[in-house]
Symmetry: C2
Subunit: 438 residues, 2 copies
Amino acid sequence: MLMQEIILKKRNGQVLATEEINFFVSGYTSGAIPDYQASALLMAIWFSQMDERETADLTRAITDSGEIIDLSAIEGVKIDKHSTGGVADTTTLITAPLVAACGGQVAKISGRGLGHTGGTVDKLESIPGLNMALTMNDFVRVVSDCGVAIVSQSPNLVPADKRLYALRDVTGTVDNVALISSSIMSKKLASGADAIVLDVKYGSGAFMQSLEEARKLAAMMAAIGERAGKPTTVLITDMNQPLGRAVGNALEVEEAIRVLRGETGGDLLTVALALAAEMLVAARLAEDLNEAEARLQAALDAGGGLRRLQCMIELLGGDPRIGDDPSLLPRAAETVPIRAAATGYVSCIDTAGIGHAAQLLGAGRATKDDAIDPAVGLKMQVRLGDSVEEGEELGRLFINRRENFERAADMVRECVAVADQPPPMSPLIHDRIRSGGG
Amino acid sequence: MLMQEIILKKRNGQVLATEEINFFVSGYTSGAIPDYQASALLMAIWFSQMDERETADLTRAITDSGEIIDLSAIEGVKIDKHSTGGVADTTTLITAPLVAACGGQVAKISGRGLGHTGGTVDKLESIPGLNMALTMNDFVRVVSDCGVAIVSQSPNLVPADKRLYALRDVTGTVDNVALISSSIMSKKLASGADAIVLDVKYGSGAFMQSLEEARKLAAMMAAIGERAGKPTTVLITDMNQPLGRAVGNALEVEEAIRVLRGETGGDLLTVALALAAEMLVAARLAEDLNEAEARLQAALDAGGGLRRLQCMIELLGGDPRIGDDPSLLPRAAETVPIRAAATGYVSCIDTAGIGHAAQLLGAGRATKDDAIDPAVGLKMQVRLGDSVEEGEELGRLFINRRENFERAADMVRECVAVADQPPPMSPLIHDRIRSGGG
């Protein structure tokens, strides 16, 4: 088999055979196929697309490039949850413990944040003492003891995805349904869960800027799950404004704790509960979504979710007292208000821009080697449709250095458009797609 | 400027700015831009195309990546001639000396053959003693003395093209009008001629398989010549059968000599004269094509072309007596007839396949490091529309080793389709395109 012939075939719009996809992924992982042929194929895939069978084969080949975690020592249906990435999206830290409190086994491998979206690993690592680099034995033990474990990705998992992702990032081939689906789903398949619930974000703060593209991605991932024998449910949720109010690692952990304590709610809780309900149904711990929602609400009211989160934090070496007193989390030295420049209604929010402003303060990374400051970030006071007066506080920066803070405040102000009329409101949950068409 | 943003821009169908194209070519030549980004851009260009201005900029950037030859020491209009590559296409060895015999100054830098088409360098190097690696001073001296010099490409000429061509070859990005045009025209612009005549081959033995694609390529190259201030004429000529009868290096030199001696003619002479007439008009040595053709015929009849070729061979260190006695060229040890398997008319010839059969015998290279045997190859006896009887000789192999010869004979037989009816005949010269619309 010749790599240039595989490139030509895809370039000419043909469907690649399973063996050709395997040849590419294994050759690229071993180093036998050079980067320049891989990037040419990726660009050909970007233009010619891959169908469902090809994408499922690509996913399987990437999955098989490394270790596959064996969770069979854990009783019951193990469930994984993943978001395509948003701003102020702390659903994992709410959803996973609530599902555990209802008897679920949540085994989740998380990544770090890059660009304008945060990563669960960075958020949890803002908790003093917490270490997410667990051995697989410890991972299984934490799931068994707490019903929930979130750990950072092992270097042995999906090595082909790591190489391909780095290459896509610098060759203009990130935004393609087949390539995104296979990257996400290979990690899910390698992490050993029995059922998968995915949150595909759509809107100004998401990688998917159109609902149509989000639907294609959702359908493709559900189909891959189906072909791999892993029931997969995908919710398409709105990311046209920050989901919660906090953007920044310790700030987001604090917001999640306050949700689990019943002190706050809003869209963040709504989406977290919707995802959790899908997880309970997928794990066959509830008959339907109504039953699931009732059980989740009861667990929330009884503080069961908070206790599961504290259990996990303690077993990961972190200080569980932050669940009772979030002020034990790292705190920024100073806060700075961001004030509205005009009077009217919040008509549009450039959500990615809000993420970039937090990144500029040190809350996120521009490149994967950047250090982050767990304490810094921002909190938004306003949501789409809110009426604001000139000079009113739109939000507040949390800073440790005065460097860049004025630019970040300006960025946030420019991201929040104020108009004479409130915008039409879009639904929070746009669609639900289940593998097998369920 | 960021290379990934240039890739994204082209991928999204936008037009690249001159500075972006310069940034790419100079960065790729210096090694600052890696192969994997270059191949992603090449694939994006393959899909999104480049317009005339972009292609002219790409050509200029590639030209400027290395040495540009200064031919100003030679009096008059210096003319270059180039073919996109065909089978049994020895026009250069006929056209160039005939133009010189009519007062032209032909300064041509040639390449080696790769794949199923031959290269003029390989053909001339079959002449005992001949060396084509000249210094530029010697190149100028040979043109001044003989009116014609054909030398091999200096390593300092268009280094960006060499790197890009090697990359295109293994990444499925060879067959694109912008990339082919810029590769050909950058070499022509760097070689310092004042006017350019191009022969774009179309048909079963050419890289351009459709007349529409050939027309696009011709128009693009004429436009690039126009923008660079070099009058450029392009003929689109037929390559649906081998142009001459000989395929193989010494065999083709012998055929060219026999044409210049007036012993044979046919389509090879017709196309050679048509190209030569365009060169004379481009060099303003004839008012129009009629005058040019008359002068060329007179030069042919008087043996002027042969003398110019012998002059050049001698100054390149070769044995000029081959012009009087072609049997001094390397000769194959054995010849083998290829016989028709059926009775009927030659209805179709897979001309690339004929080239591959000669390559298999050792006349051409599969990879650029392969050695070639100057003596081997084949001669075709039949042309499209000829009637043949079963068992009649279709052609003859010229071999030095018995290895592969039966496979080569089978290949040739399979390339020649015999049917009950003769095929419709297509014209030998399909079109003429001149820069400036002339």
